[in-house]
């Protein structure tokens, strides 16, 4: 079956829209740009769905596994006969799943933004950036070449940068965008070096070949990379860990997560799209894409597991104390991605042991729905409350019923309450963890309880609690804003029932979907406890929460300050990099390197002044020097030279 004819259109349509809107959106197409963006994306989404349908149901399994198809492949940059960056499209279960998620969520956000961003001065630019992002993200998930993924990786990063900094006149937005880019750039450095190692060791940059070469125990490339070591660690571990660093940066894993909360400075729909549903899971996707290789290298997989688990827990704890609703959501995102990560980490290869892989992908899928829904709801709330702070909100259920209902659905989903989407995916993850590593399982379990707590803390604070006065209430929002909420709400409620493991598993063979009902009791209980605590603290206005935080004292404060990680970073960059590296470098350049150059000139000038006395203006001195010259010549040539 020939996919290329339309698969390529899926990313290229947003690209076209980007170019069109980028060039003309500011002046000529301002009003139309929203419509153009949505239409284009609608086509992309339909095509993605069609592609998914084609892939899973028409194409189906070949020899019992879902095949990896390369739909398109052009050589983009040939380095060496064996090493080239190709621009290609790879189709396998996860990429097909991802294009559906990306295009769908993006479509929702596009539609939502029609209302949300209405009247914005740079409306066209906004849509062009969104299109750019969608293009890059689609390109990233479809990449058939490890360098191609890096390219789109960077493009995703820059569109994130541009969108976070969309309100460019706010210094905080500028700072946040910069931080986001620089932190992910730092992580990308690891990714790049990882690519270099992998590519050169495997003698290819193509995913298929690379995975095939590095997983085949007979291949010389695998032998070489596994036997070569640097600083006592095998090159393969180095490479995979470095690649994971890249993924961790993009996915806001501890300790590279600091950019994500700040990234909430961007327009809320952007947060929904980029910093909740799609871009931040790129790291997970990357690990999943290279999972066969990770699988054979336990050490790097351990790193993935622990980083994921720590991030999940840490973020959940921090989320409990934050008061900015978007930040709470941001930390929850980080926490959920932590789930996906450690789920990959604990995953085995095939069958039951491979459940972690499936669970991770499933959670990625469901998370996209409920988290984007949460953000869009939050957007609506912020639209009305004109503030991000929880304390400025309360009792909003009366004013915005649709938002209220959908938000509740999403909260239940994220808390893992059946039968909402989150329940199914989270169960799989926890089950996989239980099977593989109980410590991780406990962390996951506790985190899930905390998740339920902070999500309902949020829910109660916004929609219940004490009613706040709203000065200029104009209704819940336009239809274009409500529609995505409803669609996503329905999705959140239903997608959990998709027999996901049938389609996606590490070994591509598919798993029968089963529910471990008995196993589920504990996590669900934890979630309900969490909800109950939140209910007791935040349902009505009371000072219980305040008291509690006072009792916790230092612990609360340090959590509130996000464990001072930002401050540590600030110290390292400002004090160490700037003061101890940058400033000395600049100083040395001006004073020592350049000083030497100027010094040479100065010395020359000085000598010139020193010897001016020779030219004394006295003709007799001249004669004396003249004669002296002769004497010197005579001495040299009659006595010294010979």
């Amino acid at each position: 079956m020939n996919y290329s004819s339309y698969i390529a259109l899926i990313p290229l349509l947003p690209l076209a829209s980007f170019i069109l809107l980028g060039l003309f959106g500011r002046k000529y197409l301002k009003e139309l740009s929203g419509i153009i963006g949505c239409t284009v994306l609608l086509i992309s989404t339909v095509l993605s769905l069609y592609a998914a349908y084609n892939y899973f149901f028409i194409g189906g399994k070949v020899n019992g596994v879902y095949p990896t198809l390369t739909a398109v492949k052009y050589t983009w940059l040939q380095f060496l006969p064996s090493l080239a960056i190709d621009m290609g499209i790879i189709l396998d279960p996860i990429s097909v799943m991802m294009i559906v998620v990306v295009s769908f969520v993006s479509l929702m956000v596009h539609i939502y933004s029609l209302g949300y961003m209405k009247g914005e001065e740079r409306f066209g630019t906004y849509y062009s950036f969104l299109s750019l992002f969608t293009f890059s993200m689609l390109g990233l998930v479809l990449a058939s070449n490890i360098f191609q993924i890096y390219i789109f990786w960077e493009l995703v990063g820059i569109s994130s940068y541009l969108l976070i900094g969309f309100y460019y006149d706010r210094p905080s937005a500028v700072a946040a965008s910069k931080k986001a880019f620089v932190v992910t750039r730092f992580a990308d450095l690891g990714f790049l070096i990882g690519i270099l190692i992998l590519g050169f060791q495997a003698q290819t940059l193509d995913f298929n070949t690379l995975i095939q070469r590095l997983t085949d125990t007979q291949s010389p490339q695998l032998l070489a990379i596994a036997s070569t070591s640097f600083l006592g660690v095998s090159l393969l571990t180095w490479a995979l860990t470095l690649v994971f660093v890249g993924g961790a940066g993009k996915s806001a894993m501890f300790p590279l997560h600091i950019w994500l909360p700040d990234a909430m400075e961007g327009p809320t729909p952007v947060s929904a799209l980029i910093h909740a549903a799609t871009m931040v899971v790129a790291g997970v996707y990357l690990v999943a894409r290279l999972f066969p290789v990770f699988h054979i290298n336990g050490a790097s997989l351990h790193v993935v597991t622990w980083v994921g688990a720590i991030s999940a827990f840490l973020a959940a704890v921090i989320a409990c104390t934050q008061t900015d609703i978007k930040r709470v959501l941001a930390y929850s995102t980080m926490s959920q991605i932590g789930y996906m990560m450690f789920s990959l980490g604990v995953s085995g290869w095939g069958g039951e042991t491979g459940l972690g892989y499936t669970g991770s992908m499933f959670h990625l899928f469901t998370h996209a729905f409920f988290k984007s829904l949460l953000f869009l709801c939050a957007g609506a709330v912020i639209h009305i409350a004109r503030s991000n702070e929880m304390k400025d909100m309360g009792g909003l259920r009366r004013f915005m019923p649709i938002t209220h209902i959908t938000f509740l659905i999403a909260c239940l989903a994220i808390a893992g309450v059946p039968p909402f989407a989150g329940f199914f995916s989270k169960e799989e993850i926890l089950f996989a963890a239980w099977q593989n590593n109980q410590v991780i399982y406990v962390i996951g379990l506790v985190t899930s309880g905390i998740t339920a707590f902070y999500m309902f803390r949020l829910y109660f604070s916004i929609f219940w609690n004490k009613e706040k006065e709203l000065y200029d209430f104009h209704g819940e929002g336009t239809f274009s804003m409500k529609l995505p909420l409803i669609i996503l709400g329905i999705g959140t409620a239903l997608v959990g029932f998709i027999p996901f493991s049938n389609f996606i598993s590490a070994d591509r063979k598919g798993l029968p979907s089963e529910l471990h009902l008995t196993f589920s009791i504990v996590p669900v209980t934890f979630a309900i406890i969490g909800i109950f605590i939140a209910y007791s603290l935040y349902f009505k206005q009371s000072d219980r929460a305040q008291k509690l935080s006072d009792t916790l004292g230092g612990l609360y404060r340090s959590t509130y300050r996000k464990f001072y990680i930002d401050e540590i970073y600030l110290f390292v960059t400002r004090k160490i990099i700037f003061n101890l590296v940058g400033r000395p470098a600049a100083w040395i350049d001006r004073n020592i390197v350049d000083g030497t150059m100027n010094g040479i000139a100065w010395t020359t000038g000085k000598i010139s002044v020193l010897i001016k006395g020779v030219q004394s203006g006295r003709v007799q001195s001249y004669a004396l020097y003249f004669f002296g010259g002769i004497v010197v010549l005579v001495l040299i040539f009659l006595y010294l030279w010979k």
């Binding site: 004394s616 004669a623 004669f627």
Partner: protein, 104 residues
Amino acid sequence: MSSVPMSHILFVSTALFFIGMYGLFTRRNMITMLMAIELILNSVNINFVVFNKYLYPDKLDGIFFTIFIITIAAAEAAVAIAIIINLYRSHRSIDVENASEMKW
């Protein structure tokens, strides 16, 4: 005549040469500097004549050279004196130290 070694005659000429040079270096009067130059040229003349007479008596190269040097010395002295007089007019001094306006 041959009782006087050539080197003695050459000693005289060389000594005269350096006496002249000493004068040139030390006399602060322009005219005496000119005299010093005359001494220098004379010593050269002696050299030429001596070499011609003792070493290469077949031709008269040295003699002729001497004649021309004497002529040129006269011309040179004339021009130098003219210049010194001109200088004296503007500086009202023939001290060399005063003629050191241009330097460095």
